[in-house]
Amino acid sequence: MAETHSLQDMRQQAAVAAKVFIQRDYTNGTVCQFQTKFPSEMETRIDKQQFEETVRTLNNLYAEAEKLGSQSYIEGCLACLTAYTVFLCMETHYEKVLKKIAKYIQEQNDKIYAPRGLLLTDPIERGLRVIEVTIFEDRSLTR
């Protein structure tokens, strides 16, 4: 995953204080959703609303990826008729949304989390099981 200059510098300079893992929320079934519960370890670093907003946006993006609608049906039927060879040249809808998610996470890291000594890891790198939040030691990173 591409990291910006500031993130790389921060990772090299700061030590990891703790890691928090935001678990999956299964109340709506097997759809990919994450819990919006605010972990207590991050209370001193970031605003609760801000964090919940991030997770909620991610949940919406994943819901968009897995939506059962006419687009997914058409894509499925077309793929089946071509014995799934169409995916050699075309990207699936899910992959397109995953790219959007990766961009969003990077944007959030750059604008909001890195200045506060936090780093969000894209859930796809953890098997869509958890959102890993790395909390760096608070040195000279405060405003």
């Binding site: 999956r24 059962l68 499925g76 799934y84 809808h93 953890r126």
Partner: protein, 390 residues
């Protein structure tokens, strides 16, 4: 005496734990035992070749040239679906990295509270409510995660697979969330192909016997007998299997859940994943979104290997054939925090030996002459009833 540290870039598939074999630099992913898969391939290709060689010329002339054309299309579709099922990632869940495993451990200990010495700690289960049903999530000791709903650990491949259906030796891979629809299309198209070849074999024999007599026909096209035999025995199993999976799809169940009786009446827990509508269930399973693989098989990672002065047999460097090298892996698996209850019985995986060996799966499987179609996960007490799957 002197050791040189060399950092090389390797593909991630080379360091993946689990008992899979990888080909084409990580593009292809299969189970370790592939013998039965080769048999499947041989039977399909062999029978179709005989059909194209013996029956098709006659039928194209005397009936219609569309017959062999349709047979070719159907054959290509069957092979495409088979290869797609066999070579793709079924939905393997990557194991927890050490920090995540520790985090979960701490959560479990906090939840359990103080266990008096001498007493067994309570089982690691998390209850979640899905669509107003309580579903229990079990903890996987091998992968160090709480398994998502419908996921299961395959003992043959040593991976947790999402929406685990069963491990199919005939396709040489697990059937899970990502390749279930290909598996279903494979069984369905194979049923059609078998019926097609069987029907036209009979038609061919009848037509030719009218001209030349039954025995002469068999002498001229000896392949027919073989084809009819293969098709006859395949028909019962494959058509039955297709019917069984159609039933499962209409109810949005997996083979694993069906065998364990997760949603059948006694427990009074209804299937929380079913839309209660056959069409909706079918659409979700067959036409739903195509899930991406969360295993980054072809990603690059750094590997540190030290080359000492004394010559040593080549060990930690990547083996190009498979990822399951016996050398302890430094990246993913670390010393287990808790005793590993589900370590496989075989001590040293010998890849060459197992690939050549007969296709019977190892470890906890009831000895059967024909490899079972569905294999249970490690911690299930019920045994498979083969009749059920046929």
């Amino acid at each position: 005496m002197s050791a040189v540290m060399i950092t090389r870039k390797v593909r991630k598939w080379e360091k993946l734990p689990g008992k899979n074999t990888f080909c084409c630099d990580g593009r292809v992913m299969m189970a370790r035992q592939k013998g039965v898969f080769y048999l499947t391939l041989f039977l399909i290709v062999g029978t179709c070749s005989l059909f194209f060689a013996f029956e098709c010329p006659y039928l194209a002339l005397h009936l219609s040239p569309a017959i062999p054309v349709f047979a070719v299309l159907l054959f290509l579709f069957v092979i495409a679906m088979l290869l797609r099922t066999s070579f793709s990632d079924p939905g393997v869940l990557p194991r927890a990295l050490p920090e995540e495993a520790t985090f979960i451990e701490m959560e479990i200990e906090a939840a359990n509270g103080n266990v008096p010495a001498g007493q067994r700690p309570p089982p690691r289960i998390r209850n979640v409510q899905i669509n107003n049903q309580i579903v229990k999530l079990k903890y996987c000791y091998t992968c160090k995660i709480f398994r998502p709903p419908r996921a299961s650990h395959c003992s043959i491949c040593d991976n947790c697979v999402d929406r685990f259906d069963h491990h199919c030796p005939w396709v040489g891979n697990c059937v899970g969330k990502r390749n279930y629809r290909y598996f279903y299309l494979f069984t369905m198209s194979l049923s059609l192909l078998t019926i097609y070849i069987f029907t036209f074999d009979i038609v061919h024999v009848v037509m030719r016997s009218v001209d030349k007599g039954f025995l002469n026909t068999l002498k001229e096209t000896p392949g027919t007998v073989l084809e009819v035999l293969v098709c006859f025995f395949t028909l019962w199993s494959v058509v039955g299997l297709t019917g069984f999976h159609t039933y499962l799809i209409s109810l949005n169940q997996t083979t694993n859940e069906d065998i364990k009786g997760s949603w059948s009446g006694k427990n009074r827990v209804q299937n929380p994943y079913s839309h209660k509508n056959i069409i909706k269930n079918c659409c979700e399973v067959l036409c739903g979104p195509t899930y991406p693989s969360v295993l980054d098989r072809r990603g690059l990672m750094e590997e540190d290997s030290s080359i000492s002065a004394t010559p040593v047999a080549p060990s930690s460097s990547s083996s190009t054939t498979s990822s399951s090298n016996p050398v302890p892996q430094t990246t993913k698996t670390t010393a287990p925090l808790i005793p590993n209850e589900h370590t496989p019985d075989d001590a040293k995986p010998s890849i060459a030996a197992s690939a050549e060996k007969s296709p019977s799966p190892k470890e906890e499987h009831p000895p059967a002459k024909v490899p079972p179609l569905a294999s249970p996960e490690t911690d299930v007490e019920t045994s498979i009833t083969k009749d059920k799957t046929h």
